[in-house]
C-alpha cells in the first residue's frame, strides 16, 4: 500500500523502489491534474500541431524554412505585448492601452533616431527612452487603478483613446517617419550566422539544464521530495530539441538565412519574465493578489504597489513590442499601434491558457498563444485566404480557448471542498 501522505513522509527524497509504484503515482498525478482542470500546455500543443499539419497540406509554401523564419519575425512584436498582458491578467485586470502605447514607443524611437532633428540619440538610448516613456505611462495608469480605484478597463480604455489621439496629432503633421538607424531595425531584421545560431542554442540549453540541476540539488539538500523526475528530464530534452531544431530550420532558410535576433529576444524576455513570475517574491505576490487581494493584503503584501508595478511591466513590454514592430517596417505611419494588435496580444495570452479572472496563467502561455495566432494568420495568408477569414478563424480559436478555460475553472471549483 503506497503512502498517500506526502506530508507525513517528506524526507524520502527520490522515490526509489519499484517501478510500478512510480508509474501508478504518475498516472494518479496526471488524473488529478485533469480532474482539477489543470490542463497545462497539452491542448494548445495539440492545437498547434493540428494547425501546422493542416496548412502544410493546404499551402505548398507553408511548411518551409523561409516561412518558419517569417513566422518568428511576424509574431515577435505581438508576443512582447502578450508577455505584459499575462501579468495584467494574472491580477484579474485588463490593459487596453497597450496597442497604442506600443505606437507611442514606435513614434518615440523613430523621433529620437531622426538624423538632423536636433534630438538624435544613439539607437540604444532612443530605445531606452521609448520603453521608459511607455513604462512611465503604464505606471501612471496603474496608479489611477490601484490608488484611486477606477476600474482598469475604464482607465486603459481612456488610455487607448488618448494615446491614439496623440499619435494622430503628431503624425498628421509629419506623415511617415522613416527609421534609418540600423541598430533599431536590426531588432527585427538581424539574422545570426549559422555558427552563432548553434552557439546560442547550446547556451540556452545549457542554462536550462544547469538551472534544472541546481533546483534538483537544492531540493536534495533540503530533503524535499523530488516530484516527477522523469518529467524534468523530458523537459530538458524538450528544450534542447526546440532550441537546436529552431536553429537547424532557421539555418536552412534561404532568403533571410540564419536565426533571427527577434526570436532570441523573445526567448530572453520569456526566461527573464518567467523567472520574475515564478521564482521571486514579487511574482508570488502577483499570483496572490490575483487569487485573493484580501488574503494578500492580510498577509502584509502592499497590494497597490504590486498593481502599479504590473502596469509598469505591461507598459514597458508594449514599448519593447512597439520598437520591434516599427523596426520590422523600418518606419512609423498613421496606422502604428492600431489594427488587431491589441486584441491579438490579449488573445495570445488567453489562448495560451491565462485566465481572465486572475491568479492563473504562465508567461510562456503568451508565447504559445502568439505562436497559434501567427501560425493561423500566416497559414491562411499563404493559402490565399482573405483577411476576413483570418479574423473569423482567430475568433473561433479564441472562443474555444476561453470555453476550455471556463470549463477547467468549473472543474477546479467542483473538486475543491
Amino acid at each position: 500500500m503506497s503512502s498517500e501522505v506526502d506530508v507525513a513522509a517528506p524526507g524520502i527524497g527520490l522515490p526509489e523502489g519499484d517501478e510500478a509504484e512510480t508509474q501508478a503515482r504518475l498516472w494518479r498525478r496526471a488524473y488529478d491534474n485533469l480532474r482539477t482542470g489543470n490542463l497545462g500546455i497539452l491542448p494548445i500543443a495539440i492545437g498547434l500541431v493540428v494547425i501546422v499539419v493542416f496548412f502544410s497540406f493546404k499551402a505548398t509554401n507553408f511548411f518551409t524554412a523561409d516561412n518558419f523564419n517569417n513566422v518568428i519575425v511576424q509574431m515577435t512584436g505581438v508576443t512582447m505585448l502578450a508577455f505584459g498582458v499575462v501579468f495584467v491578467l494574472l491580477l484579474g485586470e485588463i490593459d487596453l492601452s497597450i496597442g497604442y502605447l506600443s505606437g507611442i514607443a514606435a513614434l518615440t524611437v523613430a523621433e529620437f533616431q531622426l538624423p538632423g532633428s536636433g534630438h538624435e540619440y544613439p539607437a540604444l538610448v532612443a530605445i531606452a527612452i521609448a520603453v521608459g516613456i511607455c513604462a512611465f505611462i503604464g505606471g501612471v495608469q496603474g496608479a489611477v487603478v490601484a490608488l484611486v480605484g477606477v476600474p482598469s478597463f475604464v482607465v486603459t480604455l481612456a488610455g487607448l483613446l488618448i494615446w491614439q489621439g496623440v499619435i494622430l496629432q503628431v503624425l498628421e503633421v509629419k506623415g511617415v517617419i522613416v527609421i534609418e538607424s540600423q541598430w533599431i531595425n536590426d531588432t527585427a531584421v538581424y539574422f545570426f550566422t549559422s555558427t552563432a545560431g548553434w552557439i546560442i542554442a547550446a547556451v540556452v540549453t545549457g542554462i536550462y539544464a544547469v538551472g534544472t540541476l541546481g533546483s534538483l540539488l537544492g531540493k536534495r539538500r533540503a530533503g524535499v521530495a523530488i516530484r516527477r523526475p522523469l518529467l524534468l528530464i523530458a523537459k530538458v530534452i524538450g528544450v534542447a530539441v526546440a532550441c537546436f531544431g529552431t536553429v537547424a530550420v532557421s539555418n536552412h532558410a534561404s532568403v533571410p538565412n540564419g536565426l533571427p535576433l527577434a526570436g532570441v529576444l523573445v526567448v530572453i524576455f520569456l526566461v527573464g519574465l518567467s523567472f520574475l513570475a515564478k521564482r521571486t517574491p514579487f511574482g508570488r505576490h502577483v499570483y496572490a493578489v490575483g487569487g485573493s487581494a484580501e488574503a494578500a493584503r492580510r498577509a502584509g503584501i502592499n497590494v497597490a504597489r504590486i498593481r502599479i508595478i504590473v502596469f509598469i511591466i505591461s507598459g514597458a513590454m508594449a514599448g519593447v513590442g512597439g520598437v520591434i514592430l516599427a523596426a520590422r517596417l523600418n518606419s512609423v505611419d498613421l496606422n502604428v499601434g492600431g489594427g488587431t494588435l491589441l486584441l491579438d496580444a490579449i488573445s495570445a495570452a488567453v489562448i495560451g491558457g491565462t485566465s481572465l479572472f486572475g491568479g492563473r496563467g504562465e508567461v510562456r502561455s503568451a508565447l504559445l498563444g502568439a505562436l497559434v495566432i501567427a501560425t493561423v494568420s500566416n497559414g491562411l495568408n499563404t493559402a490565399g485566404y482573405k483577411t476576413g477569414t483570418i479574423y473569423i478563424v482567430t475568433g473561433t480559436i479564441l472562443l474555444l480557448a476561453v470555453t476550455l478555460d471556463t470549463i477547467a475553472r468549473r472543474l477546479q471549483a467542483r473538486s475543491g471542498r
Binding site: 498517500e4 501522505v5 506526502d6 506530508v7 507525513a8 517528506p10 488529478d32 482539477t36 533546483s215 537544492g218 531540493k219 539538500r221 533540503a222 530533503g223 524535499v224 516530484r227 521564482r279 521571486t280 517574491p281 514579487f282 508570488r284 505576490h285 499570483y287 496572490a288 490575483g290 487569487g291 485573493s292 484580501e294 488574503a295 494578500a296 492580510r298 498577509a299 502584509g300 503584501i301 491568479g359 492563473r360 477546479q412 471549483a413 473538486s415 475543491g416 471542498r417
Partner: protein
C-alpha cells in the same frame, strides 16, 4: 504555578460614535491555555479581538503582553509581538499551493531575490507534521482542492509557524461539517498542549466545552464572568451569555485570585 498571563487587557473601553461597543472589559490569557471567548451577536467579541490585533485603537484601558504594557497600532505590531489571528474567512489564496500560502508575504529568498522553495517546503512539512495535520495529500496542491477542515488547518498552521505565542481563532468551525470540526478542534487542543496560548471565539458551546481551559463571557460589551471549564456547566455559561451581570470588583477577574497581588 502563578505566572504572568501572556496577554492581559485591563479596563478596555471602546466606542464607535454613540455606540459603546466595549465597557471596562478585563480579559486575560495564560501560556498553554485555550481561552474561549463567547457571547451573543454584538456582545463585542470581534471588537475586542480587533483591539488586540491593532485594527481598532482603544479609547481607554491598557494592554499588557507578557506583563509589559504595549501599544498595538497595526497588524504588524501584533505580528511582531507574536500575536497571530486567523479570521473567519481564512484569508488563503485558492490559486496558490499550501507551501506558498504558508509563506505568503514572508517568503524566504536569497540575495538574488530567488525564492528558496526547497527550504520553505521542508519547513511547511515540518510545521504540519508537528501539528499532526496528516490529511493533506500533497503540500504542493492548490488550496482550492482542499476540504474546509484542511483549509482551516492550513490557516492555523500558517499562524503558528511564525514563532507566535498567542493565536486567536475567530469562529474556526463555523462553516465545517462534523468530521472536519473534530479535526480542527483536535488541532486547537494540540496548540494548547504545545504551550501556545489560544483564544477561541465561538458560538458553539459544545465545541468550546470540548477544548477550552477557561471561558470568558461577554455580554453587551461587558465581561460578565470567567469560568473554568471543569467547574462549570453549559447551562451556567448560557445563563451568563443571555442574562449575565458584571460581577467583578475593581478590575480583578473573579476566577483569577492569584493575580490579586
Amino acid at each position: 504555578m502563578s505566572e504572568t498571563p501572556i496577554l492581559q487587557l485591563r479596563g478596555i473601553s471602546k466606542s464607535f460614535g454613540s455606540v459603546q461597543a466595549l465597557t471596562d472589559v478585563d480579559f486575560e490569557v495564560r501560556h498553554g491555555e485555550v481561552m474561549a471567548l463567547v457571547g451573543d451577536n454584538g456582545a463585542g467579541k470581534s471588537t475586542l479581538i480587533k483591539c488586540v490585533a491593532g485594527i481598532h485603537g482603544v479609547d481607554s484601558g491598557e494592554i499588557l503582553f507578557e506583563g509589559k504594557p504595549v501599544h498595538i497600532t497595526g497588524p504588524k505590531d501584533a505580528a511582531r509581538l507574536g500575536i497571530e489571528i486567523v479570521y473567519q474567512d481564512l484569508a488563503l489564496c485558492d490559486n496558490l499551493d499550501v507551501v506558498q500560502n504558508m509563506y505568503l508575504g514572508r517568503e524566504e529568498r536569497d540575495r538574488l531575490w530567488r525564492l528558496k522553495e526547497p527550504i520553505m517546503e521542508q519547513r511547511t512539512a515540518e510545521t504540519l507534521r508537528s501539528l499532526s495535520v496528516t490529511t493533506i495529500r500533497s503540500i504542493r496542491q492548490p488550496v482550492a482542492s482542499l476540504s474546509g477542515g484542511q483549509r482551516q488547518s492550513v490557516a492555523v498552521a500558517k499562524a503558528v509557524q511564525w514563532n507566535s505565542k498567542l493565536v486567536i481563532l475567530d469562529e474556526p468551525t463555523a462553516a465545517l461539517g462534523v468530521a472536519q470540526t473534530r479535526q480542527v478542534l483536535e488541532l486547537v487542543k494540540r496548540l494548547g498542549d504545545q504551550g501556545l496560548a489560544v483564544v477561541l471565539i465561538s458560538h458553539n458551546l459544545h465545541d468550546v466545552f470540548e477544548v477550552a481551559t477557561r471561558i470568558t463571557v461577554l455580554r453587551l460589551g461587558r465581561d460578565v464572568g470567567v469560568y473554568e471549564r471543569e467547574k462549570t456547566t453549559q447551562q451556567e455559561v448560557v445563563q451568563a451569555i443571555t442574562a449575565g451581570i458584571p460581577t467583578k470588583v475593581a478590575g480583578i477577574p473573579t476566577t483569577a485570585p492569584e493575580l490579586a497581588s
